[in-house]
């Protein structure tokens, strides 16, 4: 649990950091902001598939 929180926190900071820096330099366009959002959202895994795979693995080893 703790590991998940820490990894997620670091992941989010790493994901938004380029956008923050681009904003600070006044260079992030709408298109770049949208692409940054899409890049992060696209990386979110399908949780139902993830759960099904985990359940199948548990049933197999049981």
């Amino acid at each position: 649990m703790v590991e998940a929180i820490v990894v997620s926190a670091l992941g989010i900071v790493a994901a938004i950091a380029p956008g923050v820096l681009a904003q600070l330099s006044g260079k992030q366009s709408d298109e770049e902001a949208i692409e940054a959002a899409r890049a992060l959202a696209s990386k979110i895994p399908d949780r139902t598939d993830q759960g099904d795979a985990d359940t199948a693995e548990r049933l197999k080893r049981g």
Binding site: V13, I16, A33, I34, A37, R47, T48, T55, R58
Partner: protein
């Protein structure tokens, strides 16, 4: 000794989460002054996607821990398989809610991109506000559902993100 170490790690994790949320809020508050509706919404979507990623990881870890306990309690078949399936089914609505929230977020982002390509007029932003509000609500509902199963330490949706969605919904 182990308890001390675990406590230190918990404290560090709490600080890391707090810093993450503070950074997100600072980013949104700062960008809210830019008077750039499409850019503001895109950054709000980025923070929402980050919260959904982090929350999803926490939920999957809690689900795994719960199933581990079930397997420890029922190590042998036929109880093992039956109990694993029951516990998996208990968590399935939460996972489906997370997937629905992700779909909502991607729809929001796609709508923003279309509005940008079409010139980004107010007549385009008004309907997107509804999509934005719905996407944020789906994230909140997924987290609420997980909390009802006892999941703790879910990331907070920054209030400014909610306000952005609500504010745009009012246009």
């Amino acid at each position: 000794m182990d308890d001390d170490k675990s406590s230190a790690i918990d404290t560090w994790a709490s600080w890391a989460s707090a810093i993450m949320i503070a950074l997100s809020i600072a980013l949104i508050v700062w960008c809210s002054g830019c008077a750039n509706p499409i850019g503001d919404q895109a950054r709000a979507a980025t923070v929402s996607a980050g919260a959904l990623t982090a929350g999803g990881d926490v939920i999957m870890a809690a689900r795994a821990a719960s199933l581990d306990r079930v397997e420890a309690q029922y190590p042998a078949d036929p109880e093992h398989d039956a109990q694993v399936e029951i516990e998996s089914a208990r968590w399935r609505p939460v996972l489906e809610a997370l997937d629905a929230a992700r779909t909502g977020l991607l729809a929001w982002i796609d709508s923003l991109d279309l509005a940008r390509m079409a010139g980004g007029g107010d007549d385009l932003l008004a309907p997107i506000a509804v999509v934005a509000a719905r996407a944020v609500q789906l994230v909140v509902r997924a987290f609420d559902l997980a909390a009802s199963l006892g999941v703790e330490d879910l990331p907070a949706i920054p209030p400014v993100v909610r306000q952005l969605a609500d504010g745009f919904a009012g246009r």
